[in-house]
Amino acid sequence: MDLSALEQRGVVDAAGSAASVSRALAALSEIDLVRLRALARLRARGLPNGIDWSDLLNEALARALDGSRQWPSGVPLLVFLAGAMRSICDDIWRRRRREAELIAFGISADADCREVASPAADQERVMAACEAVGAIYRLFAGDVVVMRIISGLANGQSAEDIRILHGMSLVEYQSARRRMRRALLRAELSGLAR
């Protein structure tokens, strides 16, 4: 295959992206490595049983390092990897749904004569989401202001929206945000060295 054909298929870009990821990973600071673990542990909440944060992180690293997921220029590496883990979670649930359909309908899962839905994977996903949301809320239980912020985040509100909605001063909001981050670090990093 000549170079132009490879370029047309994005292979050269993929090679450059993969090499850049490899170099950037080797250069990550210790704190950023710790942060990466916390990001993976957080994102793995709500995944099916049997898949943990290290599986998720490994898959994200594999996709970044083989060039199948390209690192856009100007995007910080950890932001890129966090995005990769987010889409892998969606892939995992899509695959789970497909597997549930195959179990229910066999190889004719694509046939258009289905009369019965196969909700098993969807129910599992909803249940996992309920448990994960509950676990996240429990991390901040007892801190009313932080709970308001968390609730706002769950509703997709911006920091500024949340602050204004609840009449918080900037100082009160920033203080609560620090407490929230500490609770988050405690939840996702405790026991790291063991």
């Binding site: 295959m1 990973l25 957080l42 390092l65 083989d66 199948s68 996240i136 981050r181 670090l185 990093l189």
Partner: protein, 84 residues
Amino acid sequence: MTNPTVTDWDAEQDLAALLDGLTAELLAVPEGDIAAWLRAAGEPVQDTAQPMRRLVAAADANRIAPYMSIVVAAELRMSIARNQ
């Protein structure tokens, strides 16, 4: 007085928004704050980062035929990785 119902609650949507919001928070925590929290928690930074360094290095070392998954078959890497 009637109790509010939660029949319209979409747990998946809530979780997705929560995780996005908290991911942004983790990305925004200053390095100094993480280092300070690790110190206060008795988790030495070097000790905690080492296993991650090894995990990342192993992922890099285990790269299989770069770009093959693009050129030949998208599912190839996944199936090889599963059988390792």
